[in-house]
């Protein structure tokens, strides 16, 4: 038995440790690092929902930030106090001006509006395939940005909306993230999910199986947009400031980038990708303000972290096209499996884990020895081949 097969181990790694981290964050939610963890949670929703379209349904949308923007603005309009709206968004109709809803309801409505927009946009745009779809969805971002920046009476124009109430707590963010992952996990393991994957793998064959491709495409696009809208709402109520420039092409690229690095066709990939893309820029941030390495003062390198991430992206698509996780679903599978949770009650699981851990150093040494041995064999063969070739020529 290997470590990764132990349910108890999975429980510790994927449930217990994250839970402890979340509890700590929840108690210090104004802390800078807690903010990063919150961002991580929102990224999970964004990337996992994008994966539904790009990874599982075989379309290629780059317009996710637009749905995020729609959700953020819609939910902001529903949670702001009347007097806040009066000063910056004078053009709102009276009923909306006076309407202030609880945050979860505002989030859901934001999601629905994003989803509705996806429906309208999806009908024409999802007829395109490949990079035509990519460009059309980028076009959608440009259009949404133009609306946000210019319809001052609704959105306060390019100045953006400020003073959003700070409702996005650790709990609501991660409850939403887990819920989104759970919904996607169940969807993908249902007949519907299988028809999406069939559509991705073979368009024509899926059609001959009686799958209605238009319905599949548009429905998955709408579900994905709904989640992006919710994520946008959470993001807005975390940052408390939103404006069109936060939801522009770069933001959308970042989501696509994260999705590809983690693995487009995996929900666990969305988690891993988000983890990397939320925290690595933090590690690289010192580069941008100038640091001292081995006594040499480096100049301030603005853009260095994005530059490094872009290079990482290129390396990943060249050497591991399917992303870090590929098609592996170990994280979501163990999060949503009863076995993971019941394992803490079983004595045998503890014994198993104990023996695995005890044997670990031995096993490591033996695999290492085996690896070096095969290397030696390979080297020998290579040498033989070379000398043979020399003889021949």
């Amino acid at each position: 038995m290997r470590l990764r097969d132990s349910n108890l181990f999975k429980f510790f790694i994927f449930v217990l440790i994250p839970l402890i981290v979340l509890i700590i964050c929840g108690m210090n939610s104004t802390n800078y690092y807690a903010g990063l963890v919150h961002l991580f949670g929102i990224n999970i929703i964004l990337v996992a929902s994008l994966n539904l379209v790009n990874g599982f349904s075989g379309m290629f949308s780059m317009g996710h930030a637009a749905f995020m923007a729609i959700g953020a603005y819609a939910s902001a309009l529903l949670t702001l106090e009347t007097n806040q709206k009066m000063t910056s968004m004078s053009g709102l109709p009276e009923w909306l001006m006076n309407l202030t809803l609880p945050f979860p309801i505002a989030l859901l409505i934001g999601g629905f509006i994003a989803s509705f927009c996806a429906l309208i946009v999806g009908f024409p745009v999802l007829r395109f395939k490949g990079h035509y779809l990519a460009v059309a969805t980028i076009g959608f971002i440009v259009i949404v940005r133009a609306v946000l920046d210019n319809e001052d009476q609704w959105t306060n124009g390019a100045r953006g909306v400020t003073g959003l109430p700070n409702y996005a707590s650790t709990w609501i963010i991660f409850a939403s993230a887990i819920l989104c992952l759970f919904i996607l996990h169940r969807l993908l393991n249902s007949a519907y999910g299988r028809s999406l994957i069939a559509m991705r793998d073979d368009y024509v064959a899926a059609q001959t199986l009686g799958i209605n491709l238009t319905v599949c495409k548009i429905s998955s696009f709408c579900i994905s947009a709904f989640m992006a809208g919710v994520a946008g709402g959470l993001w807005g109520h975390m940052q408390s400031v939103i404006s069109g420039k936060f939801f522009y092409i770069e933001a959308s690229f970042k989501i696509v980038e994260t999705s590809i690095i983690g693995g487009m066709a995996s929900l666990s990939g969305a988690i891993v990708g988000s983890l990397i893309m939320t925290f690595i820029p933090e590690l690289l941030a010192p580069l941008e303000t100038g640091i001292t390495v081995f006594g040499i003062q480096l100049p301030e390198l603005y853009g260095a972290s994005n530059l490094i991430l872009a290079a990482l992206l290129i390396l990943i698509i060249i050497y591991r096209r399917q992303g870090i996780m590929g098609y592996n679903e170990i994280i979501t599978d163990s999060l949503f499996s009863i076995k993971t949770y019941t394992s803490i009650l079983k004595k045998s699981e503890y014994i198993n884990l104990y023996t695995i851990l005890i044997n670990m150093p031995k096993k490591l040494i033996s695999t290492f020895a085996a690896a070096s041995k095969t290397d030696a064999v390979k080297n020998k063969k290579r040498k033989e081949r070379r000398s043979k070739n020399e003889k021949n020529s």
Binding site: Y132, G303, I314
Partner: protein
């Protein structure tokens, strides 16, 4: 009435001015797309690299413009070829989305490289007085640069069309665009064909960067991306893969954009960019292969 006509005419001329820049960029896009089926998002950023090269050489070393243009073309070609070698060539067997993302990564890489070297601040970019001098033709006023741009586009179109149609490498390019595998079996070295397309595309990007910066009068590291994307729209509008389609699309888009900006009520003028993309989506829905296109539609 006369005023309205003059206004219309001047907007039209502005559209032609803008359109010739788009056309120039779109030709470069089309060259690469036609062969590799790759939307080279980095094309716009190669343009920016060219512009910054010109700026540095003129301000820091006081070189004459024509020398800096030649050097910027060389640097742009170098950047374009490096992108091809390191980011696109390893992905030749991959799907179109994969290469698309790779080109996006190259684009982000170049943008941030420029940010690192030159800071994200805008910088003034002024052409010499000879180039900005205005000439009046009736009610229309054009700068020397405008005229040079227009003529360059036409000359480039004629030269490249001739090359594609009649030369050996041009025929190889068309063959690669038609059927890459069969082209290999004819003994065509497809790597050298692709490299040629990138050389031409990047050189044109450097030239169009100069034209764009001349219009904007300020430059920043991100300036190339959106115009690059619009030029791609132009190429798609005209019928991607065809050079005359790219040029036609460039002019159509430039004129449509300026007429939209000039003739719509003022509250809509800020929707220029949105209009361009809406137009693209509309055209693709009606004519998936663009105005002059005949092949490989983007629709399923």
């Amino acid at each position: 009435m006369m005023d309205a006509l003059t206004y219309f005419l001047s907007q039209f001329v502005n559209g032609v001015k803008l359109g010739s820049v788009y056309a120039m960029v779109a030709i470069g896009y089309s060259m690469v797309y036609g062969i590799l089926r790759l939307i080279n998002f980095a094309h716009g950023d190669i343009m920016t690299v060219g512009v910054y090269t010109i700026l540095v050489l003129t301000t820091a070393f006081g070189m004459p413009l024509w020398v800096t243009v030649i050097i910027s073309v060389i640097i742009a070609v170098f950047v374009g070829l490096s992108a091809e070698r390191f980011a696109y060539r390893p992905l030749r067997s991959a799907g179109e989305e994969t290469t698309l993302v790779s080109s996006l990564a190259v684009s982000i890489f170049l943008q941030n490289l420029l940010v690192m070297i030159f800071s994200p601040q805008r910088k003034a970019f002024l052409l010499s007085e000879q180039l900005t001098e205005l000439h009046s033709f009736g009610t229309i006023r054009l700068s020397t640069m405008n005229i040079i741009t227009f003529i360059t586009v036409i000359i480039v179109l004629l030269i490249l069309s001739h090359m594609i149609k009649n030369t050996r490498i041009g025929m190889a390019m068309r063959a690669c665009s038609d059927n890459m595998n069969a082209a290999k079996l004819m003994g065509i070295n497809i790597t050298s064909v692709i490299v040629t397309a990138f050389i031409i595309g990047s050189a044109l990007a450097a030239l169009s960067g100069l034209m764009l910066a001349g219009e904007y009068k300020t430059i920043d590291p991100l300036m190339g991306f959106v115009p690059g994307l619009k030029a791609f729209c132009a190429a798609v509008l005209g019928g991607i893969g065809s050079l005359s389609g790219a040029v036609l699309g460039g002019f159509v888009l430039g004129i449509a954009e300026m007429l939209f900006a000039g003739l719509m009520p003022t509250e809509f003028t800020a929707y220029r960019d949105a209009f361009v993309f809406a137009l693209l989506i509309l055209v693709l829905l009606i004519r998936p292969n663009g105005i002059l296109g005949t092949k490989d539609g983007g629709r399923s």
